[in-house]
Amino acid sequence: MNYRRTLAYAAAVALTAGAGTAAAEGPVRIGVMNDMSGLYADLAGPGSVVAAEMAIEDIGGEVLGHPVDVLSADHQNRADLASTIARQWFDDDGVHAIFDVPNSSAALAVQELAREREKFFFISGAATSRLTGDSCSPTGVHWTYDTTSLANGTGQAVVQEGGDSWFFLTADYAFGHSLEEDVSAVVEEAGGQVMGSVRHPLDTQDFSSYLLQAQGSGAEIIGLANAGTDTTNAIRQAGEFGIVEAGQRLAGLLLFITDIHALGLEAAQDLVLTTGFYWNRNEETRAFAERFNERTGQMPTMVQAGVYSSTRHFLNAVEEAGTVDEAQAVMERVRANPVDDFFGDGGHVREDGRMVHDMYLVRVKSPEESEGEWDYYEVLRTIPGEEAYGAMEDGGCQYVN
């Protein structure tokens, strides 16, 4: 008896030491970090926190016998601030896993830290494929979409329709660079040509100068390698400057349903885009979306739905592993379990951290086709996960090759 008690005590000490300040027996604590007030706040923001809370409710509110704590923070699209918050969460606040983190620069910073601390990082909002490439981490999972899948979705579709000369309007940070690079690769592989690109600062109001340059390039397709209000402003101003009438076409490489909502169907109709989730696809997605809408007043973006799905998957894995402090045991469950919910549809988490699931190539409906508020997309094609995300060997993740 005595012997057994000593053993249990030793194990507890070992676990506590491994977890820093977090108590071994304490509650599982997760943090949702994103842009809560800036240009990405509608597509992630407070809605992502609601999504995480819904996931916790849906698994019964408790993991390992304790209620799950949720923290949230605003990184204001600054990588340095994201890093500071993550450090405080991991080192002082006993956070086990961070979720969401749109803005690729911020996500890359958090990924570094999470890898160092052996903490979990489930990325939904950020896009750069580097998160499962040269910046991959054994405890990092990239859930919702990435620049590779956008390139293989929208990029490929546009090239197949004959758009083979491109000019890029690129947001000047990690995300824009990644997206431009990935789409360029697809275009060039298909025999197309990239005529040039111009890089604009994140959060730009006036795109007229850039659009004029795109017009001057003579390219058939103007690829918008940006997101949020940057994309919506660029699309509207392209209309104003008669760019589409003059024969050039726009390819919005990353558009969220909140962007379409803000643009209105009149301006957005017929845009083709790639998304990891569309609320009005089947019974299950609609059921989730209605619940989400009741709490937030908007339909979920793919980022918010991804936060729900990844939170739920992670907490189930922790429950099964019986621990949150042993990263390896938890990650084994994360990789072994299929993602069987309305979002993943049987997706799985690859060795390099990529959650491989089907993507959807959609076309934005015209105002006449739309059957109500938020009924915006017609699904053109389901892109199988393997095709959308490409082979793991091409990603460049060090520890799997």
Partner: protein, 295 residues
Amino acid sequence: MIFDLLGVPPQALLGQLLLGLINGSFYALLSLGLALIFGMLNIINFAHGALYMMGAFVSWMLLTYLGIPFWPSLILAPLIVALFGMALERTMLSKLYHLDHLYGLLLTFGLALIIEGAFRTMYGVSGRVYPIPEILRGGTNLGFMFLPNYRAFVVVVALFVCLGVWFFIERTRIGSYLRAGTENPELLQAFGINVPRMITLTYGLGVGLAALTGVLAAPIYQVHPLMGFHMIIVVFAVVVIGGLGSMLGAIVTGLLLGVVEGFTRVFYPEASATVVFIIMAIVLLLRPQGLFGKR
């Protein structure tokens, strides 16, 4: 960079010059209001960007909820926002005139956060679309570029309003009272002029200018709660470069910086967000009173 410079055809430069002037006219209108308020009230009006945003939103609301089109709201929206501004001045700002600049700045900064926060809660950050008025749709092909009719309209209106305000302040009797009020309010009061009311109206005029700019901007940019936050920092730089309180300085510098920014977007787009501040730093080092400042 030299190669880039040579690689740009002259027509494209002409196009960028014109676009720069269009953006510059927004800067000019906003910085004019800011300079006016600083000159008369000695308040650094940090809420200027939020009031500009309000102008755009009020115009959108007039259209969406009441069906009032662009033309009437070009007058109505600035009036509504100016009234709101004057209420702020009467109830809050007027209590701070005898204190250091810093208090006015802090108060208006706080007000800006509250106004922007309120709109963010109501409409989210993605914002709404304001359609371009029917008769100004389309554009003209100038040979070197396609000039949307609406943007041409904006430049013309902005220049007229700027010159009108400048004329009003510098060349009319009421304008001379205003200028006298900044020099020596006590003396002016002794001549039987109601100085506090004059100050309130001046603030209203400055705010109205901001709101008018917002109404003009609504059909071009997405109408969203953070649109003023983008503008205000650049506009502050414009006012500092032009010389605090100098109206002519604000107008000329606004146009000039629009053009400089436009060219930067061609030659070195990565720096387009910072070029204004680099110029500001240089001007502050070489001519701290600003390009058009006295003293």
